[in-house]
Amino acid sequence: MIEIEGITKRYDETTVVDDVSMVIEPRTIAVIVGTSGSGKTTLLRMINRLVEPTAGIIKLDGKDNRSLPGYELRRSIGYAIQGHGLFPHRTVAQNIATVPVLLGWDKARIKARVDELMTLYQLDPEAYGPRYPHELSGGQQQRVGVARALAAEPNVLLMDEPFGALDPIIRNKAQEDLLAIQKRFGTTIILVTHDMEEAVHMGDKIAVMDAGKLVQYAKPAEILAKPASAFVETLVGASEKPFRLLSLGRVSDAVEKGTAEGEAIPGDASQRDALAELLWSGRPALPVKGEDGKPLGRVTVDGLVKRAARPA
């Protein structure tokens, strides 16, 4: 659990982060969104004390984050920096091993952990371990950056626009990987982005920042349904709202009785994908299949359109 209480950061006279309070539940993903310069990075960096706040307290599992030296605190928190920030003079394996080495793990344990993470991220440890960062593609560099942040099995992971520089296909894959890893290790993640799509997709809760202030902190559905201000409304994108809302739900939650013609859609696909398929193929309904391949029923255009309407 991370408790941010009345955090403020001023540089000279300009207030960059203004009296922000929020609580991030353990084993959840909180996404911070906002326009560029709204103070997202600064807020994130106050959690691991790369930036010292002007006022306010941040507690990790009930303990003030100033109760131990900054560098020790940071060794216990994963940090994936904007633009990966890999050390260009160290190999991939050495990069990933950074924090374990700082923590003084023994060699065998470090090697085992590096191999485990590289395998997890589909990088062959034999082939890629000895390479230097500039010998990797952008997507691979990004994965190494996240692997490095996860190396010492931190309970908390801070990520600053980790997928910003990736092309859409690789970005989708990276997002799915991250969700899978978060489930598996139960890591608490705070992720900064300026992409609302990403926020809705990844976040258990979304914090919207504007000019240093936290304007809304709520579940994605609530942000979409009840934007707290005109700013949030624009950020969500008025014309995108219904589709974003649909993207939050699974097809299995929208199944109706009956049958339909054609290829079946899996029950765990998003309702938005189902609607897109329906509109594109010009059909009124699609069959739905379960994980075991058995038919569950069907989804209809009418049914989905109702779900895309503003919740009461």
Binding site: Y71, I81, F87, P88, H89, V99, R148
Partner: protein
Amino acid sequence: MTIRFDKLGVVIAAIAAYAALVAPFATFRANRIVPGEARSVLEALPTAVGPLLLAIVIVGALIALLKTPLVLRLAASVVALIALAILIGIAGSFLTPAGNTFARISPASGFWLLIFAFTLLLADVLTRLNLSPWARVGVLVVAALAIGLLLISGQWNSLSILKEYANRADSFWAEGSKHVTLALGSLAAAVIVGLPLGILCHRVEKLRAGVLNVLNIIQTIPSIALFGLLIAPLGWVAAHVPGAAALGIRGIGTAPAFVALFLYSLLPVVANTVVGLAGVPRAANDAARGMGMTDRQRLFGVEFPLAFPVILTGIRIVLVQNIGLATIAALIGGGGFGVFVFQGVGQTAMDLVLLGAVPTVALAFAAAIILDAVIEMTATKRRVETA
């Protein structure tokens, strides 16, 4: 098939043709300081040998002139250079009248131009071969060994520069070691002081402009003036600080030269340390802090290794510059190869000038090649991608 010319080859062939056919190959002087008489290739070498050299030069020039494979060009330049090196010695013995110890034979403009032309060819081949750092150092070692062999064999003993050497063999090595000590010692001192100073300037922004400006101004003071100006304060130190004189600190001599070289060396070392540290990618630095490195760990683990090639470049500048500047130390009694240069200028004895200048250039050249190789080796693996 059309004949195609190599553009550089045209230049080389023209120089070689002029040098071999028009310019004098060697100079004969009845004694050390009288004006010399020119001797052409055919006059300077025994009957059969002169035409042989001309043949080698012509074939070499033709190979350079036409578009030929690199290996052939390499062979042509190496053969020509070796032939020149051996034959100038033969010219020396051939032109020296038997039993005459006053006559001086020295290489003349034709010889030097031929050396220049074929060195150009060799340099071009080596550049195009794009040798690895190790290979370049290897070529340097081979060349040094070949020259050393020629020197030891006595092949060149009849040449005037070696006669000057023979008269001064002891002082040559003494001044040489003084020269190297001055250049390397001041470099070491500059690194010991300059690195921490550079790191300090990097960390403390207020200090940076001030320190760099002062060091910049020191660089603008002409070397002979700086050498001279240090005589007074060091003389004072020698006279008033107990033990200083025993350490060899004197107003005149090596001490002011050492201090002056040290002061000149500081700017490149400090400036390159600052530039190198400033060039460390922000993200890498940020990541280092974010991973929980202490300031020390970050300095030695991230900043320093990444800045190292740039710092080395500064050290290379300093070393090459110091080897050259150390010649000036002779003017204030600091010793070094400059002693021969200035004595030679004073006596208008050019062979003596060469005795000082040639080893200085050779040292600087070798230092540059070796350090360039080291820089390339450290930089390749650490190539910083520009994102």
